[in-house]
């Protein structure tokens, strides 16, 4: 892709966050007025454990240029160990995505409720990384 096209490309990113850590961190980023790019839409889950890898697949097949997931740091889950299970599922789906070179479009983070700054910075770096990847080949495809 030419540089020019890259310039104009605004990635569409969808993210799943757990209610207790990362969603709270996003709120904290808000109360701290941390600006970050407007490319991500957040879907609130109660726990990382609710992340069904099908969501990731669906998002990517629907043309999301990036998908991310973020929850409490392992060991700090509000639901005691939800994120330990989530981590395994995420690892599995990443491995599958890797086969098709899609793993770069799926990011996972651990951001705790107190890490508002980290959330905002993550949104920045995520947007840049996805912008660098260019559009999802599935974008615009009718599926």
């Amino acid at each position: 892709m030419g540089e020019e096209a890259k310039e104009e490309f605004e990635p569409k990113i969808v993210g799943f966050t757990c209610n207790w850590c990362t969603y709270a961190a996003a709120d904290l980023a808000g109360t701290s007025r941390k600006k970050y790019p407007p490319n991500s839409r957040i879907i609130r889950l109660m726990c990382s454990a609710r992340l069904d890898p099908m969501f990731v697949l669906k998002a990517l097949l629907n043309g999301a240029d990036g998908v991310f997931f973020s929850g409490c740091h392992p060991g700090e889950c509000h639901y005691i160990k939800g994120n330990f299970y989530a981590r395994r599922r995420i690892a599995a789906i990443r491995t599958i995505l890797k086969q098709f070179g899609l793993d770069d479009r799926f990011k996972s983070y651990w951001i705790s409720a107190s890490e508002g700054e980290k959330f905002a910075n993550t949104m920045k770096s995520l947007t840049e990384e996805v912008r660098e990847l260019g559009p999802n080949p599935m974008r615009g495809k009718i599926i």
Binding site: P53, L57, L61, A92, I142
Partner: protein
């Protein structure tokens, strides 16, 4: 492990003994139907005859585990099958689709199998028994084993309760891998002695060949490639139905759970200009490969089942193996090992996350 040396001719007696001594209440084992081989459920020991030719027949019809999926009755069933089938059975035990207490898993050595179609077509050349030399020889004639078998590293029996290993010529070794297996053999009044059936060198050789073969297969390394690969797919879901470890009673894809309703479809179409109507091939196969990612034994039943002859072996086992690698999990190996998705370690997998 403890085992006993036998001859091919002893197998019939051995299996009959299992029924007669009450070790199992019934048996599922391959039997010959003309040139072909399929499975039968035996209650009457007299129905077992000259098993050796069927037992080691290099043919794959269905995965035996698929036949016992949902076997939750208390009567004990012995299952005699190839490694990939027994492995699938073990996974089903973990998934509670089979009760460990009511099965006796007997694994036979496999040298690789031909599809039912190839086998019947070339029965004359292939015969009842093959070995690796024979397979090579036939390959020269364009008669090849199933692709899933050619990339299988687990052809030698090494899982289940009892293994039946082929030696040179007519020699066999039968050995118990588990307490249950050894108990069964003891009940058959076989004099058991310590046996070393590791067969490391042989295993390594098979693995090397399998790896080489795998490497030679075209790789599906992009979404475009996958799209092209699946272009003939009609989402008939036969692959799923024949998969031994796809165990749902009603598949997600047979339910309206994910489908938009009402004005939503139009809202979406309006937003995007056009939308495909669910459910797409990609979503179906990618979801399915995730669903079986830790349990897939690589038996190739999916490929056999595909009416469009899509070489699904290049998709399912190839990908699932990679997932299994990150969990250091070998499906079907040990009935007590937890499924990867039901376990965790507090610190792990950081390299698989980003």
């Amino acid at each position: 492990m403890k085992g006993a040396e036998l001859k091919h001719g002893d197998l019939e007696g051995l299996l009959k003994g299992l029924l007669e001594k009450g070790v199992v209440d019934c048996l599922i084992l391959p039997h010959r139907t003309g040139k072909s081989v399929s499975y039968m459920l035996v209650k009457d020991a007299d129905k077992i005859e000259s098993s050796a030719s069927a037992l080691f027949a290099p043919s794959f019809s269905v995965n035996a585990a698929n036949l016992v999926k949902g076997w939750t009755i208390k009567e004990k069933v012995g299952i005699v099958a190839k490694s990939c089938e027994i492995r699938a059975a073990v996974e089903l035990i973990k998934l509670k689709q089979l009760d460990n207490e009511s099965v006796l898993l007997i694994t036979t050595d496999c040298s690789g199998a031909y599809t039912n179609q190839v086998y019947t077509e070339h029965y004359a050349e292939i015969g009842d028994l093959v070995d690796s030399a024979k397979i090579k020889e036939l390959e020269g004639k364009g008669i090849t084993i199933r692709e899933s078998c050619s990339i299988c590293e687990n052809r030698l029996a090494d899982v289940g309760d009892i293994i039946i290993a082929r030696g040179a010529g007519d020699d066999l070794v039968v050995a118990g891998l588990t307490e249950k297996g050894e108990g069964a053999l003891t009940a058959l009044e076989l004099s058991l002695e310590d046996k070393d059936l590791e067969r490391a060198a042989e295993k390594e050789k098979i693995a090397a060949e399998a790896k080489a073969k795998l490497a030679s297969l075209p790789e599906l390394n992009s979404l475009d490639a996958l799209e092209e690969f699946l272009q003939d797919c009609i989402v008939c879901k036969n692959c799923r139905d024949m998969c031994p470890v796809c165990y749902c009673k009603e598949c997600f894809f047979d339910q309206p759970l994910g489908d938009p309703i009402g004005g939503d479809l139009l809202n979406l179409a309006e937003l995007r200009g056009a939308i495909g109507l669910p459910t797409g091939q990609l979503f179906y196969h990618l979801t399915r490969v995730y669903h079986v990612s830790t349990t897939c034994v690589g038996c190739g039943a999916c490929e056999d089942a595909c009416p469009k002859d899509i070489p699904l072996t290049r998709f399912y086992p190839v990908i699932t193996q990679k997932v299994q690698e990150i969990f250091k999990y070998e499906p079907g190996k040990d009935v007590d090992e937890p499924l990867p998705f039901t376990a965790y370690e507090e610190e792990e997998l950081e390299e698989c996350l980003r």
